[in-house]
């Protein structure tokens, strides 16, 4: 009986998730020209660094044990994972603003889980460009189908870690009031450290990549699996990404107990 209930709940959330996604997509496509400009603009943005890296590698050879293809893999995986996080959970980096403005009231009154409901109620248009960019790069790098499947799996796990980090840093606003400085820095740190070779950083600070700024689980460990298949390492990456997601949900729920309603009348976007 319990298993049937759990399955029904999962189905209900899957339907809710799909409905939110459809609504967000329709909303983003409402202004089609703007959508296309933002998507291609973001892809150009990311592609500029391909030029930088190709010129640099032409002068230096390998950097910190990474070749050009390895750095492109970091960019591809980070972009797609970051993109997926912002496409599906577009409010992840707006939570502190919702808390500060008292805008969580709308979600508290609805029957679905507050965090899932709030996160999925928005999509970031430019993130579609980030998401697509990784797959375009992968196509240029020329991998076989098993590597494409692996890449897709790591995009999902990376998106979970990105979302987890955003939710954790944004949830600090429940405890600190305004956490804009911390959340902005958290985003910059996790993005910056995920886009550059792990080997360029001093060994003494690499523990940070597997704890506070978990770029290791977003890109560095997946790259190792990509270079040489290791089921144990792949399972570790997936397990840790789920752990980050649950940790983020736990911290958000703990914070929610301290939430004070803004008594605002509003509607879901």
């Amino acid at each position: 009986m319990k298993r049937e209930n759990a399955q029904a709940l999962l189905r209900a959330y899957a339907r809710f998730f799909a409905a939110s996604f459809r609504a967000n997509l329709r909303s983003a496509m409402e202004y089609r020209t703007n959508f296309l400009i933002q998507v291609f603009g973001m892809m150009i943005n990311n592609a500029a660094f391909v030029v930088f890296w190709s010129f640099l590698f032409a002068k230096t050879g390998a950097l910190g044990g990474y070749r050009f293809q390895d750095v492109m893999f970091l960019w591809a995986l980070s972009s797609s994972a970051f993109g997926l996080s912002n496409v599906l959970f577009g409010n992840a980096r707006q939570l502190s603003e919702l808390v500060r403005q008292g805008d969580l009231d709308v979600y508290l009154l609805q029957p679905k889980d507050v965090l899932v409901n709030a996160l999925t109620s928005k999509t970031i248009v430019s993130a579609w460009g980030d998401f697509a960019y990784g797959f375009v790069v992968l196509a240029f790098l020329g991998f076989d189908p098993p590597h494409w499947i692996m890449f897709a799996l790591f995009v999902v796990s990376g998106a979970l870690v990105f979302t987890g980090v955003f939710v954790i840093s944004e949830s600090l606003s429940f405890f600190l009031g305004s956490s804009a400085g911390i959340t902005g820095a958290a985003t910059e740190f996790i993005l910056s450290f995920s886009l550059y070779p792990e080997g360029i950083f001093p060994s003494g600070m690499r523990w940070v990549f597997y704890s506070l700024v978990p770029s290791g689980f977003i890109v560095f460990l997946p790259l190792r699996v990509f270079r040489s298949w290791s089921p144990g390492l792949a399972a570790l990456v997936l397990a840790v990404s789920l752990a980050y997601a649950f940790l983020a949900a736990g911290i958000f729920r703990a914070g929610l107990k301290r939430y004070e309603s803004g008594n605002r009348i509003g509607a879901r976007d």
């Binding site: 020209t33 703007n34 400009i37 933002q38 291609f40 603009g41 973001m42 150009i44 943005n45 592609a47 500029a48 030029v51 930088f52 010129f55 640099l56 032409a58 002068k59 230096t60 950097l63 910190g64 305004s178 804009a180 400085g181 902005g184 820095a185 910059e188 740190f189 910056s192 450290f193 550059y196 070779p197 080997g199 360029i200 950083f201 001093p202």
Partner: protein, 266 residues
């Protein structure tokens, strides 16, 4: 003379208002300074890895490459990206509000943006200087460089403003013009910001010198890290030429664009 004093007071006040607005919320600014510091740290590490086992690449040693990045990004971060607020003022119709006032729209915007740039560079330079000194040793800089560098920095900030103003003013004709800024900012990043022009293939480097991009970041950064008086003055001459050319273009775009403005009153 009275005319000049009045102008100076008028645009000086515009700059002062912008500065007061910015520093009323120092927390908002902190995020930018942290981001700049993070980029400086990451690129310092990249250059450490790149120079492992070699003393120089295309005439730059590690210290020069590190400080080059610090100065080039200092121009970008401290003189800011004006495109968004500029384009918004045109799209929202705020430009119409300024037409009836006793100041020129372009000069008023310039005074505001430059006023900000002149105060913003201090915290950026402080954090960049600290990280740069810790990672690559102090910047080798002589007193003779200072006036040329300051002039070059001011011209770079002005040119950056004028280029962004030209791009933003396409909002007179286009509802959505952000693509121009995306493309400009990325080309500018590759052509002289992230690394010195000398790292580019030679034909591309030569071609780049005929575009305005290197005169925004490459010239002040190059003058700061590699002092060759003759070349420095030639590069500053290029900056002056581009600043005048883009300034005239901006004035022409504004005078045509402003005819498209419709004032509804109210």
């Amino acid at each position: 003379m009275n005319w000049l004093t009045a102008k100076r007071r008028k645009y000086g006040s515009s700059a002062e208002v912008a500065i007061r607005n910015r520093w009323a919320y120092p927390g908002d600014f902190l995020g930018l300074v942290i981001t700049y510091g993070l980029f400086v740290f990451v690129f310092s590490r990249i250059w450490i890895a790149a120079y492992s086992g070699r003393a120089e690449i295309v005439g730059y040693d590690r210290s020069m490459a590190t400080w080059y990045f610090i100065v080039a990004e200092l121009v970008v971060f401290s003189s800011g990206n004006h495109f968004w607020s500029f384009a918004r003022e045109i799209r929202d119709g705020q430009v119409a509000y300024s037409l009836g006032r006793p100041y020129g729209f372009l000069a008023y915007q310039y005074a505001q943006k430059m006023g900000l740039a002149l105060t913003q560079w201090v915290p950026f330079a402080a954090i960049g200087g600290l990280i740069g000194t810790a990672m690559a040793g102090p910047l080798r800089f002589s007193a003779a460089q200072l006036p040329v560098f300051v002039l070059s920095f001011l011209l770079a900030a002005s040119l950056q403003y004028l280029i962004q103003a030209c791009l933003a003013m396409t909002a007179f004709w286009l509802e959505e013009n952000s693509a121009f800024y995306w493309i400009y900012s990325k080309i500018s990043l590759v052509l002289g910001t992230l690394m010195p022009l000398e790292f580019l293939p030679l034909p591309l480097m030569r071609a780049t010198l005929f575009t305005p991009f290197p005169y925004v970041t490459y010239v002040p950064a190059r003058i700061a890290v590699a002092w060759e008086p003759g070349r420095a003055w030639a590069l500053v001459g290029g900056q002056v030429a581009w600043t005048v050319a883009v300034g005239l273009l901006a004035a022409a775009i504004f005078s045509r664009g402003v005819r498209k403005t419709t004032i509804h009153g109210g």
